[in-house]
């Protein structure tokens, strides 16, 4: 079966088993290794990508189900020397990163969250992070950085992601 979809803004065609997990196509065929395959069961969130702007774990997404969809991976969030997403800026500024393997998934999950929840409270941020496991950091610095990111956006009168309100 042939599946076609948009991948980081470009046409992508896959011929093969439509049940193939999207993460395997990203990593093994497109060499987009920023998407991490850690638990492969939907618990850890490290393989999160956007499918039509919604954050989903790519390990649980058969490629057949993204036919006609727009898929964005971490590589598509800021290509080349383009500016980082404000979340990435805040994670870097807060010295939140350690081994770093959970962060592409954190960025993909939380970028959708902050876009849709510009007034989220700290408990709401934590609730949004339950699907992203980090083994290194103990989380709190990540939560701080998300809160700071939302605060900055509110002060600037913008939605995170750059859409003016």
């Amino acid at each position: 079966m042939t599946v076609t979809f948009q991948l980081n803004g470009e046409d992508c065609r896959f011929d093969g088993d439509p049940m193939t997990p999207l993460v395997d196509i990203l990593r093994q065929e497109r060499f987009l290794t920023g998407t991490k395959a850690v638990c492969r069961e939907g618990f850890c969130g490290a393989c999160t990508v956007h499918v039509d702007d919604e954050a989903v774990p790519s390990c649980l997404k058969p490629v057949g189900l993204v036919h006609g969809c727009a898929v964005t991976t971490i590589e598509g969030m800021s290509s080349g020397n383009q500016a980082l997403h404000p979340l990435q800026v805040n994670f870097e500024a807060a010295d939140a990163v350690q081994c770093g393997m959970c962060f592409p998934g954190m960025v993909m999950s939380l970028s959708a969250f902050v876009r849709d929840n510009p007034h989220a409270s700290r408990p709401e941020i934590k609730a949004a992070m339950v699907g992203n496991i980090c083994r290194c950091t103990g989380y709190e610095r990540i939560v701080d950085a998300v809160a700071e990111c939302l605060d900055q956006a509110r002060k600037a009168g913008q939605l995170v992601g750059g859409i003016h309100v």
Partner: protein, 782 residues
């Protein structure tokens, strides 16, 4: 002290942007289509004899390029004792043990060919527990234990006891016979903890110009090099190990495991071979923090003096000795730490069982021995009517006190740290109100740990653009040492900005010996070697500049990328100008440095079978936890957590605070819900993220931490390792706080809701150790 002011800073991580953009290439991101994929045939029984192993049909399967068995890599490896084959040879000792490996063009082809391997195994009666292994008539997990090469002399061994270490100081029998003491005895048992690094163990092997090259996710490139040499019976110099950024280690990658297999297959095929554990394999064969059983007795006077103490600690090493052989040493310094004790004797035994081998995990051995010691201390306080905080203040190790092996501790550290904890609590307030009707407990505990010092080497090349290249065998596992403390230190020594210091990633062909990134040693040991290398660079740089400036070298300083005349900012010349002159006159400016342990001695006769007699750099912590226990569900909520940590000198306080938050949370998992159990056939039951309950964001609280500086350290600039120790006393603080909340003794971790409910309703059987003899001496090999 100008070096220090130029070194201490909250330097951000240079690797953060690439990690955040998903551009960092960890080992398992480097798999290419032209590589062969290796897949392991693993044992499905916990114990057996291999009667037949025929791989000829597998070799004929589509895509298969090589099949290897134990016969292809006959050398044995280990720590202390060489007892471990790369692939099982004749005998199977645990469920999941690798027996054969297939390399094929695709992973699917390799997996499909597994079914073509003809394997016949005669099952043997497995020895699953330490209680079974220590029975006089127990089947030996290693029948040929006497024949193994002993790599480190000194430990007593017999049958299923892989290694025994003892410490003994003073007349313990006399202390327990005193008429003015009360004896308090406690027993504790703890399970295993799985590391769950996000990057599993993975290696990419190739065979280049007659040598192996292994790229791998490891904390110890030199161990991988040496073990590969041993098992392949090659000179280790014929193995090169390079290390990309590591996606988490936590001690799991502090030993070799599957890496040599890729070199073996690369030599057989002439191709590059990748072997990556699946998540299930990774967790089922995790070199876990070991399960342990502890009995401790103390003789304490009515005034609160600990006259005598003795303990037996059994550590399950699983099927092979591994790290536990070494870790028997640590009991003297962990269970034997924290307090001033009159006379003491401790025995620690690594016991073979037919279970997956255990290994190193952040603050190995210390985590559960600190839990046991601190809970025992609370039981002493309960039995004799002491206030737990006052008892600790009175008895913690101070200046001139003796450790279990007779080491003399320097300076009062723990005492002032307890005062600092009280000040920290006063500043944060307490959280009892948040208990909201649940059972509330608060506990303050102490812990003793160390820096695993050991040898390191460093080279610094000063470049014509004024940058410096630091070449070491250090590895960035996430702790930040390679991207923060080391460039900070080199920059501080050479008057550069940290971004002018290029840090080479580990390559055993480029850098000298190093015993690995673990034991809190990187900043201390590689840092000291780097500073020594910088001293040589400085000497050459200042001598050359002195000639150019017609000034004595001792009147010159390095500052802001310039060689300046002391006290005259902006004078002199730029470092590139000096380097250019040196290159034309004496040659490129380089320096090399080396460092190793001081090997602080034990008191004569006090330490037997120890790999380390005394602590070159002790590290202390004070941890305080507040918990609320739901009496209906047994759920424990952590309301607040506070840490005072002895850091020697904080080079990057913000990075240390990040390590404390992360380490405490790993400890909360260990204390509360990370549970590893064995199935009836000896498998690790929790081999995925559904069954192994890692800490999630809603389980955690922000840790309030105070960095205690100024305690003595032989580390460079007064540093101590800060990344390993934050996990040390979490099990202790949570265990003590829960015990106080529920008013029942806590003798086991983790404190899962069902266990807490059983404790509350007195349905949790206390640990019983019939295999630990009542008399201490009967638990030793004499």
């Amino acid at each position: 002290m100008s070096e220090l002011s130029a070194t201490v800073m909250n330097l951000p991580r240079r690797d953060a942007q690439d990690k955040l953009r998903g551009r960092t290439k960890y080992t398992n991101d480097r798999i290419r289509p032209d590589m062969l994929h290796a897949v392991l045939l693993r044992s499905t029984v916990p114990a057996g004899r291999i009667r037949k192993l025929d791989v000829s049909a597998a070799l004929r399967c589509p895509g298969v390029r090589a099949v290897a068995t134990g016969a292809d890599a006959p050398g044995l490896y280990g720590i202390g004792i060489a007892d471990h084959p790369l692939l099982a040879i004749d005998t199977i000792r645990y469920h999941g043990e690798p027996i054969a490996v297939i390399a094929a063009e695709t992973e699917e082809q390799a997996r499909a060919a597994l079914a073509a391997i003809m394997l016949e195994v005669e099952p043997l009666a497995p020895v699953f527990t330490m209680a079974e292994a220590l029975q006089p008539a127990a089947r030996l997990v290693h029948e040929g234990w006497r024949g193994y090469e002993v790599i480190t002399e000194g430990g007593a061994r017999a049958g299923n006891i892989a290694w025994e270490a003892k410490s003994s100081r003073g007349d313990v029998d006399a202390a327990f016979a005193r008429p003015d003491i009360r004896i308090v005895e406690s027993s504790f048992t703890v399970g295993r903890q799985s590391h769950v690094p996000f990057e599993p163990r993975v290696a990419i092997g190739s065979w280049e110009d007659g040598r192996a090259h292994i790229q791998t996710s490891t904390q110890v490139p030199w161990t991988v090099r040496n073990v590969t040499g041993r098992v392949m019976q090659l000179s280790p110099g014929r193995v090169r190990v390079t290390v990309p950024p590591v996606g988490g280690g936590f001690g799991l990658k502090f030993d070799a495991s599957i890496e040599p297999i890729t070199a073996l297959l690369a030599r057989m095929t002439g191709r590059t071979v990748v072997l990556e554990n699946t998540r299930q394999e990774e967790m089922a064969t995790c070199l876990c923090r070991e399960n342990a059983e502890i009995r401790i007795r103390s003789a304490v006077t009515a005034e609160g003096y600990i006259a005598g103490r003795e303990a037996v600690v059994l550590m399950d090493c699983g099927a092979y000795g591994g790290e536990q052989v070494f870790l028997t040493t640590m009991t003297a310094h962990t269970l034997g730490g924290n307090y001033r004790v009159g006379a003491t004797r401790l025995v620690s035994r690594a016991v073979y069982t037919n279970t997956p081998p255990n290994g190193a995990f952040r603050a190995c051995n210390g985590v559960y021995n600190t839990f046991a010691l601190e809970r025992h201390t609370d039981e002493i306080c309960g039995a004799l009517g002491f206030d737990p905080m006052e008892f600790r203040k009175k008895n913690v190790l101070g200046d001139g006190d003796l450790g279990a092996t007779g080491q003399v501790f320097e300076a009062d550290v723990l005492g002032p740290m307890l005062d600092r904890m009280e000040a920290l609590r006063a500043s944060t307030g307490t959280s009892e109100a948040k208990a909201d009707g649940r059972l509330y407990g608060i506990a303050t505990t102490v812990g003793t740990w160390f820096v695993f010092v050991g040898p390191s080497a460093a080279t610094v090349n000063l470049n014509a653009d004024g940058s410096a290249t630091l070449v070491t065998s250090g590895v960035e596992i996430g702790s930040g040492t390679m991207v923060q403390s080391l460039p900070q230190m080199v920059a501080g020594q050479l008057g550069l900005a940290p971004d002018q210091v290029i840090v080479r990633e580990a390559d055993t062909d480029a850098a000298g010996l190093d015993v690995g990134v673990g034991g809190g040693r990187t900043t201390v040991s590689i840092g000291a070697a780097s500073i020594a290398a910088c001293a040589e660079v400085r000497e050459k740089l200042l001598r050359t500049a002195g000639e150019m400036l017609q000034t004595r070298p001792e009147d010159l300083v390095l500052r802001d990328g310039r060689v300046e005349i002391t006290g005259r900012p902006g004078s002199g010349m730029s470092i590139p100008a000096v380097v250019a002159h040196a290159q034309a006159t004496i040659g490129p400016i380089t320096g090399s440095g080396a460092f190793t342990a001081r090997n602080t001695p034990a008191m004569s006769g006090c330490a037997m079978g120890h790999f380390i007699d005394a602590l070159d750099i002790p590290v202390f912590v004070v941890h305080e936890a507040e918990v609320a226990v739901d009496p209906d569900t047994g759920h424990v909520e952590v309301l607040a957590y506070r840490v005072v940590q002895d850091v020697g000198r904080a080079l990057n306080p913000r990075a240390i605070l990040g390590q404390i938050q992360g380490g405490v949370v790993q400890g909360l998992g260990y204390a509360l819900h990370e549970e590893v159990t064995l199935t009836a056939d000896g498998r690790i039951a929790q081999d995925d993220f559904e069954t192994y309950r890692l800490p999630l964001v809603q389980d955690v609280v922000p840790v309030a931490a105070d960095l205690y500086e100024g305690a003595p350290s032989m580390g460079p600039l007064g540093t101590k390792g800060a990344g390993e120790v934050p996990i040390l006393a979490v099990g202790a603080a949570i265990g003590c706080a829960v015990a106080r909340a529920i008013g029942k003794p806590v003798q086991q971790l983790p404190l899962t809701p069902p266990r807490v409910l059983r404790l509350l309703h007195e349905r949790e059987p206390p640990p019983e150790f019939p295999h630990i003899a009542p008399g201490w001496a009967a638990n030793t090999l004499g």
